[in-house]
Structure formats: structure tokens, C-alpha cells
């Protein structure tokens, strides 16, 4: 369970986030959506503890961020950066096992966890021995998911996971991601600017605009009962909604 409560943040006197609250029940997948400049990246960075916050609290499973040391916090949050964010000088396997190795896990334990996750994300054997520049976009995403899940975090955080993929692979991977999320059983926060993706993958959507939450709800709720004229405008601006879009 991830709770963001009344978060405010200003940079150089400019208010970037104002009283943002967001709650994701354990096992649920929620999407944080907004156009660029909406503050979603700042919120993501606060959640990752890369920057501090002015007001508010971030809690995982009821424990506030401030109770954790930096390493311990990172271990509770599985982060999948944009485009996977694999380190180019490490093989897939080295990327996946980097943090467990630094945490001095037993090699056998690492091997077992890698095998388990490889099956879960349906990654072909052999891909883990390649370097990122030898992988396809979909393979990089799977490896990045494995890396994020290695330490069995309470929350998975995905930043624009599909942005760099071409449309065909994208829709295939979207379907698969949904399965993977279900199998992992994690609380997932998906940061995206793509409403279709949010609607397809997430049970709830939080629309952020100019640093404030305009509305939180399911996709039909946003369409049928918009809390603000901007919600409607945002939905209309997304031109290519697939027919199947909507909650399952």
C-alpha cells in the first residue's frame, strides 16, 4: 500500500505540487497521468526520495518515508525508469543482480530469484547474457521489470514504461504487463501521459494538472463525471483511444 498525503513542493519559490494526495491499496495498479509540466515527474522523484518535500508524507504499508534509511527505502520501491534505464556497461543479468550483489545476497539465492522472475516476465533464456544495446525494446523492459522486482519491494514504480516502444510491440507488451502485474501481486504506480495505456492497465487514474490533483477515479468515472472542464479537455485531446479501452 502506497499513500501520498498532502504533498507540496516548491522550487525557487515556484509552487510545483500543491496538496497532492494519492492512495493505492495493496495489490492495485494506479496510474498517475498528466501532461508535461503537470508535476508528475516531481511527485515520482519525491516518492523515490531523490528530492525532499516541503509538506506532506509518503507512506509504504503505513510506515512513513522518514523512518527508512536511504538503502532500505530504495529496497521497498521497485523502480522501472523510462525506457528501462538499463546500465549500458552491464549485461542484463548484471543489471538485474547489481543491487542484490551490493546487499551481499548469497549467489544461490540470487540465482533462484533470477530464475523465478525470468519465468514470470517470460524472458527468453540467453537475453540476460546480452548487453542492453543488443536487446529489443521489449526485452529491455522485461529485464528492467526483473531488476525492479528482485528485492521483492512493496511497491513498483514505472515511469512511462511504453514511451519508446513501437505501437505493435507496445500493445502486445501492455497485455503482458497486465498479466505480470497480476502475477507479481504488487502495488503498482504507473506514471504516464498516455490515457489509453492508463485506462488499459490501471484500476484507478489520478489526473494531475499544474501541480494539483484534478480527479481520481476509474476511466469511466473520468469520462462520465468529470470533476473539472480540463478533465474532459484532456480526454478529448487523446485522439486514438482503442475500442477496448476501459476497465476489465
Amino acid at each position: 500500500m502506497l499513500d501520498l498525503e498532502h504533498i507540496s513542493k516548491a522550487f525557487d519559490g515556484k509552487q510545483v505540487l500543491t496538496d497532492v494526495s494519492l492512495s493505492i491499496p495493496t495489490g492495485a495498479t494506479c496510474a498517475l497521468i498528466g501532461s508535461s509540466g503537470s508535476g508528475k515527474t516531481t511527485l515520482l522523484r519525491i516518492t523515490l526520495r531523490l528530492i525532499g518535500l516541503d509538506h506532506g508524507t509518503v507512506n509504504v504499508d503505513g510506515r512513513p518515508l522518514s523512518e527508512f534509511g536511504p538503502g532500505a527505502w530504495a529496497d521497498r520501491i521497485g523502480y522501472v525508469p523510462q525506457d528501462g534505464g538499463l546500465f549500458p556497461h552491464l549485461t542484463g543479468e548484471q543489471n538485474v543482480t547489481l543491487v542484490p550483489r551490493l546487499r551481499r545476497w548469497e549467489p544461490a539465492r540470487i540465482r533462484a530469484r533470477v530464475a523465478e522472475l525470468q519465468q514470470l516476465v517470460a524472458l527468453d533464456s540467453g537475453v540476460l547474457q546480452r548487453f542492453p544495446h543488443e536487446m529489443s525494446g521489449g526485452q529491455m523492459q522485461r529485464v528492467a521489470l526483473m531488476r525492479a522486482a528482485m528485492l521483492d519491494p512493496a511497491v513498483m514504480l514505472l515511469d512511462e514504461p511504453m514511451a519508446a516502444l513501437d505501437p505493435l510491440i507496445r500493445s502486445a507488451l501492455q497485455a503482458e504487463l497486465k498479466t505480470i502485474f497480476r502475477r507479481l501481486g504488487k502495488t503498482v504506480l504507473l506514471v504516464t501521459h498516455d490515457l489509453a495505456e492508463a485506462a488499459f492497465l490501471a484500476e484507478c487514474i489520478t489526473l494531475l494538472h499544474e501541480g494539483r490533483v484534478l480527479q481520481t477515479g476509474s476511466y469511466p468515472e473520468l469520462v462520465l463525471r468529470p470533476a473539472d472542464p480540463f478533465v474532459t479537455a484532456f480526454i478529448k485531446a487523446q485522439r486514438t483511444l482503442p475500442d477496448t479501452a476501459g476497465p476489465p
Binding site: L48, R49, L50, P70, G71, A72, W73, A74, D75, I77, Y79, P81, Q82, G85, F87, P88, H89, L90, T91, L98, V99, L102, F131, P132, H133
Partner: protein
């Protein structure tokens, strides 16, 4: 990580290598023909003395200051110099004329000098031998008889120095016709007198050209020119430790006349014989066999030592400075400016600046080389780190890596191709610049290059220049190979 490991191993190997300083005698010399000849003569004399002691030649070490400093610090044990130079440049008492006075003054500094070797290398006036016989010229005073017709060709330095022509005129009252006293480049005065354009020129009294152009030196009957008598200069420690060797050197006292020295210089400068052969000739023996291969081998070790140690230091200093420059903007600017400015200081000047701090020998050479190779290393570290996609660094932090882990696991591996390129550049610069280390007695390939340059001997230059070029080429190849081990495989996309 691998890169740091590799550097660590290189440092360990280099610092374990022998730095020298065993039981041996080190002979120095100045960087002109006469210095080389006398230095070689001393070295051969010591080698032939009993009981036998290994002799190391550090010939061609630049100026009086460097040699004297070397003697002071024990970097060399003995070298030839001139009484006038010792009085003026070292004691700063040019009024001291007699050998006894100079010896007493030097003794207070722990320096011993021998009796004069027999010749005086000072300014002298020279006239063509035929002209001298025809006009019955023996002394400088005799020139006064020809004051209306005599044509002189004097070098600029001689004309301008107070102990040159102005003082000479004052002492001898020659009254030469100013219209017939020509200022000219020193090298041209020999041509001028050979072609009969002038009748008298200023020379150094042991100059090889005196014999070549068949000139007669006029006696300084009023004792005007300061005395530059050649003597052996040694540390008192050496004299106490090796009395037999010091006695062997002193057997040359009074045995080398000005004409002998002219002849020796001419054999080197004009007949193009090797310094070793010329010195051996004077000793009445054959030149010691010069084993070129083992000589080049020894210089290769010295050169590698200079390049390796200075490089190790510039890496150990340069990489942290580069990292610091990335993290602290203003300090970084200062660091980059400093390392760029050191690069613009001429190498010789830098060596001179460093002598008061580090003395002579390998230490100032290492410091200078280290400073020169700093810029490429700092710059490569700085730009290598700056070119890393900042998202990788942020991601690493998000994964909970500590800043130390980010440095060793992410930053250094990602910057390693740039780092290696910078270190490669530094190495090749060092291999070239290290040839100047010979000027402060640090050895290496510079020894034959410097002596060949000052003796105008191209084959000798090549015995240093060719190995240096080969070493640079080998370093280039070695770095290509090293890259395969140090640069992570994921970054080794073929260019």
C-alpha cells in the same frame, strides 16, 4: 573498478623497481663539448682506478647551477668546472682570483676542488698565424702598434660585457680605430678572419676552431681576462670515501694545456670522433667498449621509470581532481585552469622552477612530467564523467546505491573509455617530454639526444630518438590492448 585495479598494480610494480643509489661514483658534466670530454675523461680515469668502483655517467646536465645543486645533494660526486665560474656563479664573489682563495671559500660549503688541470678557458684575442708571424705579434699589447690599420671582428657579447672589449680598451689603451671594430655574430667571426675580412677576433681559448682556422692566441700580458682554469669539483664526502679515486683524478692536474684541450675539442667537433675515443686517446688507452644494446636497455629502464612513476602519480592525482571538478563547479574551473596553465609553461622553464623545490635528478623530472600529464588525465576524467547520461546517475540513486558505489560501479566504468584515452595521451606526452629529464641528470633517452644535439652528432641523437619513438608507438599499442581488459564489454562497440 578494473581500471583502478590495473593502475594499482602498475604503481606497485613501479614503486618496487630499484631506484638506484648503490655503491658507485656519479660523474656529471656541463652541456658543451669540453664538458663532455672532461667528464668522460674523469669517468674513464675512475673506471681504471683501484679498488674498482662502478661509475655512472651523467654527462650534459645543463648549467652550473644544476650541477652544483646535484653535487650538493649527492646526486653526482664529481664534475669539471672553471675557477672563474665557481667564483662568480656559485660563490658570488667574482673578485676572488686565486685558486687558493676559491678553494677556501668552497670548503665552507663542503666542496673540494683540485689544482688546475692546466688550461684556462677564457676570452682571448686571436689573429691568423701567418699574420702574427708577419707582424711579430705575441701579446695583446703588440696590437697597439697596428692601431690605425687593424680590423677587428668582435662578438656582440664581447663588445657589451664590461669584462669584454670596454674593459680591455681601458686596460691596454689599444686605441683601435672605432670604424674598424666590427660587431658580428660569434660564429661568423671565424669565416670573417679566414677570408681575411678582419685581422683579430675574440675567441674562447680552447675553442676547436682555433686549430681549424690556424689562429694564434695573443698572450694577455697585463692579466686582464678573468681566469677560467679548469678544475675537478667534488663533494667532500666523495673525497673522504674514495681517496684513491680522488688521487687518480688529481693526476691530471697541470697536464692538460690549452693547446691539448683545443685539440681534444677539435677531435670531437671537427674530426667527429666520439667523446669516449677522444678521452681514451688522451689517456693513452683504447676507448671502453660501448655496448650500444645494453646502453639502450639501461636508458629504456630509466625512461620507463620516469614515464611510469610520473604517470602513476598523475593518474592518482588527476582522476580525483577530475571527479572533484565535476562535483564543485567553481573549484572545478580553478582545477582545469591550473592544469591548462602548467601545460603552457615551457618544459625547460618548468624544470628550472622545480629545482629549488625538488633539487636535481629524478625528483624534479618526475614532478614536471607529472604536472604535464595532469591536464589530459583531469580533462578526460572531467569530460568523461560529464558525458554520462545523468539519468543513469539518478537511477543508481533511486536503486539505493551509495555515492561510493555509484562512483565505482557506474561512473568510472562508464567514463573508462574517455579515461583511457586521456591516460594514453598523457603517456605519449610523457614519453616525449621525459627526454628533457636528461638536463637535470635524470637519465633516459634524453641523454644521447641532448649530448648529440650539443655535439652536433646525428647518430647519437638517433640512439635516443628512435627508441623514444618506438616506445611511444608501443605505448599506443599497449593501450589498445589494455582497453579490451579495462573497458567494460558493453561499451566496446566497434568504432
Amino acid at each position: 573498478m578494473k581500471l583502478l585495479g590495473a593502475i594499482g598494480i602498475v604503481c606497485a610494480v613501479l614503486l618496487c623497481a630499484p631506484a638506484g643509489a648503490a655503491d658507485r661514483i656519479v660523474v656529471g658534466s656541463k652541456i658543451f663539448t669540453e664538458g663532455y670530454v672532461l667528464g668522460e675523461l674523469a669517468a674513464q680515469t675512475l673506471e681504471a682506478s683501484h679498488p674498482p668502483v662502478p661509475v655512472v655517467r651523467k654527462l650534459g646536465m645543463g648549467s652550473t647551477g644544476i650541477l652544483f645543486e646535484s653535487l650538493h645533494t649527492g646526486a653526482i660526486d664529481v664534475y669539471p668546472d672553471y675557477t672563474g665560474t665557481l667564483a662568480a656563479a656559485i660563490l658570488k664573489q667574482p673578485q676572488l682570483r686565486s685558486v687558493a682563495e676559491i678553494r677556501t671559500a668552497l670548503a665552507k660549503m663542503g666542496i673540494v676542488i683540485s689544482q688546475p688541470l692546466g688550461f684556462d678557458n677564457t676570452y682571448a684575442l686571436a689573429v691568423p698565424e701567418a699574420f702574427a708571424q708577419q707582424q711579430h705579434l705575441r701579446t695583446i699589447a703588440d696590437l697597439a702598434r697596428l692601431r690605425h690599420s687593424l680590423r677587428a671582428g668582435f662578438s656582440y657579447e664581447f663588445m657589451d660585457r664590461q669584462d669584454g672589449y670596454p674593459g680591455l680598451e681601458e686596460r691596454y689603451h689599444l686605441g683601435l680605430d672605432p670604424a674598424h671594430v666590427n660587431r658580428m655574430e660569434h660564429a661568423l667571426t671565424y669565416q670573417a678572419i679566414a677570408q681575411g675580412a678582419v685581422d683579430v677576433i675574440d675567441v674562447y681559448s680552447t675553442d676547436a676552431n682555433i686549430r681549424k682556422f690556424r689562429l694564434r692566441l695573443l698572450t694577455d700580458n697585463l692579466n686582464y681576462f678573468p681566469s677560467y682554469q679548469a678544475v675537478w669539483v667534488a663533494g667532500s664526502g666523495f673525497v673522504a670515501q674514495y681517496p684513491a679515486q680522488w688521487r687518480a683524478l688529481r693526476r691530471w692536474e697541470g697536464r692538460i694545456s690549452a693547446s691539448t684541450m683545443q685539440d681534444l675539442n677539435a677531435q670531437v667537433d671537427i674530426d667527429r670522433r666520439s667523446v669516449a675515443q677522444v678521452a681514451a686517446g688522451l689517456r693513452g688507452s683504447s676507448a671502453p667498449r660501448q655496448d650500444l644494446i645494453s646502453q639502450i636497455g639501461r636508458r629504456t629502464l630509466e625512461h620507463l621509470w620516469l614515464v611510469g612513476v610520473s604517470l602513476a602519480f598523475s593518474i592518482l592525482i588527476g582522476i580525483p581532481l577530475g571527479i572533484l571538478a565535476v562535483r564543485r563547479r567553481r573549484l572545478g574551473h580553478l582545477i582545469l585552469t591550473f592544469s591548462a596553465v602548467t601545460q603552457t609553461i615551457p618544459s625547460l622553464a618548468l624544470l628550472c622552477f622545480l629545482i629549488p623545490v625538488f633539487g636535481v635528478g629524478t625528483r624534479p623530472a618526475l614532478a614536471a612530467l607529472c604536472l604535464y600529464s595532469l591536464l589530459p588525465v583531469v580533462l578526460a576524467t572531467f569530460s568523461g564523467i560529464r558525458s554520462i547520461d545523468p539519468r543513469h546517475l539518478e537511477n543508481a540513486r533511486a536503486f539505493g546505491l551509495t555515492s561510493g558505489q555509484i562512483l565505482t560501479r557506474i561512473i568510472l566504468p562508464l567514463a573508462s573509455p574517455a579515461l583511457l584515452t586521456g591516460i594514453r595521451t598523457a603517456t605519449i606526452i610523457s614519453i616525449g617530454t621525459a627526454t628533457l629529464a636528461a638536463l637535470v641528470g635524470a637519465g633516459g633517452y634524453g641523454v644521447p639526444i641532448v649530448s648529440g644535439l650539443s655535439l652536433n652528432d646525428v647518430p647519437t641523437i638517433l640512439t635516443g630518438a628512435i627508441p623514444a619513438a618506438l616506445m611511444a608507438w608501443a605505448a599506443h599499442a599497449a593501450f589498445n590492448l589494455l582497453g579490451r581488459f579495462v573497458i567494460p564489454a558493453g561499451l566496446q562497440r566497434t568504432p
